[in-house]
């Protein structure tokens, strides 16, 4: 499905809304009846995917910096046995950013127990998430191409380690449109610093900016410039908008053939509605004390990530298509030293809110139509770095999926006996992307955008749907 040809998209590309905006649009449509103008469909109008599926929205919990799969979801008894020894020669040379390929192996200090009916292995760092084991499909055989953070985060978001391709959320918004025109359809949040690499991770690159993610800041005014400065009197702001509207309307009437002018008038109306809608969406005062407690809002360690998980649920409830929540934005999971201390802290921060999100979505009947994705840009090495840390490992790592048609309580794929490389049912980032699109009803080879002579797609020239995830 190529929704529009970008060679001509610009003049057609506008944002029409409902409510106030729809009035102006319907005025345009009346003109159509007189044969003057063909109103263009909104690029954000809701669209049907290739196939009807359950998943309608995605929440991507991005553990930025690279969580250690062998300390969280992929226990390795052989690694424990080989602790302190050099990497066996049979594994060959391993290129890592800090040159730790020749270092000795380091066992995990974690205790793993089997959880849920399926007996899923979960580390003792994640006691709350362990109670959701039967909802999780754990893919242990993920692999990626990048060695450094910025390229790898970029690849997990866009398919390529090099900047310049549209993000997963943009593809989803492009494919499905947005249910709620008063909120951005693709929202990005972080409980800490800005994600490594910044806006390229939610940008649209060669697609129109209409589909880009909106970075939500903390506080009551999450969107840049959402509210007028405090010294602007609201009544005056309304008068000003009316003046703009009146003068714009006169200007447009003299140029009835140009739908873009009407679109810009609509954009001001939409902006006005967003000012009302977005603060409501991020206002947690209506949530019960129990909910806040569940998400960990009352504890210092969990409050920031918990608030964003709760916001993610509220946004999805309100029709936002794709929500990405970074845990540890700015590479905080990057445990080159003291993986024990680093991960204990970050697991404490994320475990309770993550479990609360899954349970809350389930209880509200939203889990079925919301795909939850958990993972980082890569995993970590079984070799030690500096005695207590682990280096980057894009060769094998774990991600998990829940809801949205995913069959929970299962493990897919394996890494080798020490957790260095994915070996069975290997799933490249392109495969994971293909699978996410599939769960949303798209054939990844057919969700395309024409750019510079090619039908570009998220998965470039690769991608294989991991059908075990939902079969």
């Amino acid at each position: 499905m190529s929704i529009e040809n970008n060679s001509l998209a610009s003049r057609r590309d506008f944002l029409a809304g409902t409510g106030f905006g729809a009035l102006a649009l319907s005025a345009l449509l009346e003109q159509d009846a007189r044969g003057r103008e063909t109103a263009s469909p909104s690029p954000l109008a809701v669209r049907a995917p290739h196939a009807a599926t359950r998943a309608k929205a995605v929440i991507f919990l991005f553990m930025e910096g690279g969580p250690s799969h062998i300390d969280l979801f992929d226990p390795k008894p052989a690694l424990t046995k080989l602790h302190g020894q050099k990497l066996p020669a049979s594994f060959g040379n391993v290129l890592t950013p800090m040159g730790t390929g020749g270092n000795t192996l380091m066992a995990s200090k974690r205790t793993f127990r089997k959880h849920g009916r399926a007996g899923l292995d979960v580390s003792d760092w994640l006691p709350h998430l362990a109670t959701c084991a039967d909802d999780l499909a754990v893919v242990r055989s993920c692999w990626a191409d990048g060695l450094n953070h910025v390229g790898s985060v970029c690849q997990m978001n866009t398919g390529s380690v090099l900047a310049g391709r549209p993000s997963l959320g943009s593809w989803v918004l492009y494919g499905l449109g947005s249910v709620n025109q008063n909120l951005p359809g693709f929202v990005v949040m972080s409980d800490a610093g800005e994600p490594t690499g910044g806006p390229r991770n939610w940008g649209t690159a060669f697609m129109p900016a209409t589909y880009q993610g909106t970075y939500f800041r903390g506080g009551p005014s999450p969107i840049l410039h959402l509210a007028p400065p405090p010294d602007v009197d609201p009544r005056r702001q309304r008068d000003k908008l009316e003046l703009i509207n009146a003068l714009n309307e006169r200007h447009r009437q003299a140029r009835p053939e140009d739908s873009e002018l009407a679109a810009r008038i609509n954009a001001y109306e939409l902006a006005f509605r967003m000012q009302a809608t977005a603060p409501e969406a991020v206002d947690l005062s209506g949530e019960t004390e129990k909910t806040k407690e569940d998400y960990g809002l009352n504890r210092k360690e969990t409050a920031e990530f918990g608030r964003r998980c709760l916001l993610a649920r509220r946004l999805v409830e309100r029709g936002v298509r794709f929500v990405q929540v970074y845990c540890g934005g700015g590479s905080q999971w990057d445990a080159h030293s003291d993986v024990e201390g680093n991960h204990a802290r970050l697991c404490l921060r994320s475990d309770r809110p993550t479990a609360a999100l899954l349970k809350d979505l389930k209880q509200r009947g939203l889990l079925d139509e919301t795909l939850v994705v958990w993972g980082g840009e890569f995993g970590r090495t079984p070799m030690n770095e500096g005695g207590t840390g682990r280096d980057h490992n894009p060769y094998g790592f774990t991600m998990w999926f829940a809801g949205g048609g995913v069959k929970g309580g299962q493990v897919i794929g394996t890494t080798d006996e020490i957790g260095l490389r994915a070996v069975e049912n290997r799933s490249h980032v392109h495969d994971l992307h293909a699978t996410i699109l599939h769960l949303l009803g798209f054939e990844h080879t057919k969700l395309t955008y024409f750019h510079n002579g090619r039908d570009e797609r998220l998965t470039e020239n690769a991608g294989r749907v991991v059908s075990a995830l939902f079969a």
Binding site: S7, G197, G198, L224, I244, L247
Partner: protein
């Protein structure tokens, strides 16, 4: 005579696929249109229908012929007020002042319009406007991108070079030659060395560990950018396989890439030759005086430095460490490139070394440093430098075709060459003393008068910016997947004119903007809308929205804030306070007047575009961009309504207006309206605004609000 060696050598220099392509190109000229030389089309004879259909030039005749064949003709000429606003924005990126509007309206001479065009083409603002388009193509930025997004403190020199080149109407062939091989062709011309910085604007991850991959990514960038910008070809797919639609084989891709195989980034001193000489002399003198002290300091530093190097080097695979450890003269060209990349990451400066010295050693080092200041004056400051590109030596590393584009899977070696459908032979390269000579040969071919693509691609880019859409609507894709030209004869005619007029850009601007086609009014009639809904035949002018950069310039200009100072290091306007907390912001320029310089001088940070530009569709500078989107979104409205920039500008704008005309509401309205929109309001508009002024908290606030509203109007953002 034995003919075999001849055959063997032929096989050696001419790839087989290329030979086939060459043979078939001899058999029949069945190449796609863009690869054939521009034709010499006769100028069509067009009947005129009074004023409205009149051709002013050959250019018009080509357009009218098609329009008339479709039962259409030109729209009536726009009024003078519209024309001066359109022309001034188009040629300088700024709105005309009320005085300029009055002068043009009052000039009754028959060549008033031509004089206006000449004035604008001669304005230094012209180069600033058109440089911005070229900088988009050049993926120009002043930081590295990737994670650390390090500063490129000398990058702005390239921006100034482009502005100067456009203002001076540097011939395009020379402009290209300088950018491709300034170091080889014009080594004594500092400007040309800055120009070759064109090939330094790739995003870079200096701390990559996989250096062969990084090298390959850089080469891919240079290849793809060259093909897109100069030739209007999308060659990226040929990296992995023969192009499916265009006659670009995978081998062609790597033949083109081979021109850059020896690339080496370099920083070169700029400035006048005498200045550089003076510096070199002063440096030599300083070095002689301090030789002994420095030798003794170095002895102290060396063990520490060794430790640094040893520990920093360790993260690289052994092969790379070995390349770095080899004496430079023993390195192969490829090893030299890799060693250079290692060096950038591991080399340590003397001060850094000193920091980790301890105890007595440190004391001795400090004493020596003191001694140095006694024996000589401070080290002469290095003259300013510029980023440029040169070669690693006179021999290039081999270029191999890469299977599936993967650097880990090299196949047969290829020699530099052009797209084989144009010229299947191996390029005739003459090595220079210190460089391969390859880029000179590439520059020669790119700027040859008979190159089928170069001139067509450039005139089409100019056309796109003047008329809102290229004759080829996909300006960097002249291939089969791109849009075919709407007026192939006109495109060919323009391309030939361009070369004939010594590649003069200003001549082409003049030709385009003095045409009748350009002077049409905006918005066609019902017949045009029915018969040509996309306005492909150009039966009226396309209305255009200002780019973010032009929008900011226009706001500053009408408010009387714009600082017209040209050139120099970039300036940093204030960022929205909400963004203060994000990493990678920038400190605001200390001098407030500097913050109000033109947008082309605003710091171009890859990982953080200035928000107004980003929101209004500026590209991200990660790859070349030939055509921006024009999106219409709610965040744009929010930014103009609630952003501090517009509110501040509105207040200044209001202050200016009241200064000029006092507090009479009608005078305020008229002046503000004229400044922002270039015309007086009509009676209804005036009444609406008068009513609005009555309701402010104070008159000053009301005027500021009125000015703010004017800056938000469609009429302000769009040019008819």
């Amino acid at each position: 005579m034995n003919r075999l060696p001849w055959l063997a050598s032929l096989r050696h220099v001419v790839p087989f696929g290329a030979l086939l392509a060459f043979a078939s190109s001899l058999a029949a000229d069945d190449k796609p249109w863009a690869f054939r030389s521009p034709s010499r089309p006769p100028v069509p004879a067009v009947g005129t229908a009074g004023d409205r259909g009149a051709a002013r030039s050959a250019l018009d005749a080509f357009l009218l012929a098609k329009l008339q064949a479709a039962g259409l003709t030109f729209a009536p000429e726009a009024d003078r007020r519209t024309l001066i606003r359109r022309l001034t924005y188009d040629l300088t990126g700024l709105p005309p002042t009320p005085a300029e509007v009055d002068a043009f309206l009052g000039d009754k001479s028959p060549d008033a319009y031509d004089k206006l065009v000449e004035r604008l083409l001669a304005s230094p603002r012209h180069g600033e406007r058109w440089a911005a388009y070229w900088l988009d193509l050049a993926r120009y930025a002043e930081t590295d991108g990737f994670k650390s997004d390090d500063l490129r403190p000398a990058a702005w020199r390239y921006r100034d070079y482009v502005i100067r080149a456009f203002n001076a109407d540097k011939p395009y062939d020379r402009f290209l030659a300088e950018q491709f091989a300034g170091d080889e062709l014009f080594p004594d011309d500092a400007d040309a060395l800055v120009a070759t910085g064109f090939h330094r604007h790739y995003p870079d991850e200096y701390n990559a560990v996989n250096l062969e991959q990084r090298r390959q990514e850089i080469l891919n960038d240079l290849t793809d950018t060259t093909a897109a910008v100069v030739l209007g070809l999308t060659v990226g797919c040929a990296r992995c396989h023969d192009h499916k639609f265009d006659p670009i084989s995978q081998e062609d891709y790597y033949r083109l890439q081979a021109f850059f195989a020896a690339y080496q980034p370099a920083e070169v001193p700029v400035g006048k030759r005498e200045e550089v000489e003076t510096y070199r002399r002063a440096l030599r003198e300083w070095e002689e005086k301090t030789a002994d002290v420095r030798r003794r300091m170095k002895e102290l530093e060396e063990p520490v430095r060794k430790n640094f190097l040893a520990s920093r080097k360790k993260r690289f695979p052994t092969e790379y460490q070995e390349m770095f450890d080899l004496p430079p003269e023993k390195r192969t060209p490829l090893q030299e490139q890799i060693a250079f990349m290692v060096g950038k990451q591991v080399n340590v400066a003397g001060d850094e070394v000193a920091k980790s010295m301890k105890g007595e050693v440190k004391q001795r080092w400090e004493d020596l440093r003191k001694r140095m200041s006694e024996v000589a004056r401070p080290k002469p400051p290095a003259p300013p430098s510029a980023m440029t590109l040169t070669d690693v030596g006179s021999v290039a590393p081999p270029t191999r075709l890469l299977k599936r584009g993967d650097w880990r899977h090299p196949a047969q070696e290829v020699e530099p060459g052009f797209p084989s459908t144009c010229d299947a032979r191996t390029a005739l390269v003459t090595p220079k003393a210190a460089t391969t000579g390859r880029r000179s040969e590439l520059a020669r071919w790119l700027t040859a008068p008979d190159n089928p693509l170069t001139a067509r691609v450039l005139v089409n880019r100019l056309w796109q910016h003047h008329f809102g859409r290229g004759l080829v609507a996909t300006p960097s894709d002249f291939g089969a997947q791109g849009e075919p030209p709407t007026h192939p004869e006109l495109l060919d005619w323009l391309a030939r004119e361009f070369v004939a007029r010594r590649w003069s850009l200003k001549e082409m601007h003049r030709l385009m903007v003095t045409s009748a086609a350009y002077r049409q009014s905006c918005g066609g009639d019902e017949t045009a809308a029915r018969l040509d809904p996309e306005n492909r035949l150009l039966g009226h002018t396309n209305r255009r929205r200002l780019e973010g950069e032009a929008l900011r310039d226009a706001m500053l200009s009408v408010a009387g804030l714009l600082n017209a100072k040209a050139g120099g290091p970039s300036v940093a306007p204030e960022l929205p306070s909400e963004m203060g907390a994000t990493r990678g912001g920038w400190p605001t320029s200390a001098d407030p007047a500097e913050r109000d310089r033109r947008s082309v001088y605003v710091f171009a940070k890859r990982n953080l575009r200035y928000p107004l530009f980003g929101t209004f569709d500026a590209p991200d500078a990660n790859e070349t961009c030939a055509r921006r989107f024009t999106t219409t979104t709610a965040p744009q409205a929010l930014m103009l309504l609630n952003g501090k920039l517009t509110l501040d500008v509105a207040r200044a704008f209001a202050g200016r207006v009241r200064n000029e005309v006092g507090d009479d509401p009608d005078k305020v309205i008229d002046r503000a309206h004229r400044l922002a929109l270039g015309r007086l309001p009509d009676a209804d508009e005036r009444a609406t605004m008068r009513d609005f002024l009555r309701h402010g908290a104070s008159f000053a606030d009301a005027v500021a609000d009125l000015c703010h509203a004017l800056l938000n109007l469609n009429e302000f953002l769009y040019v008819d």
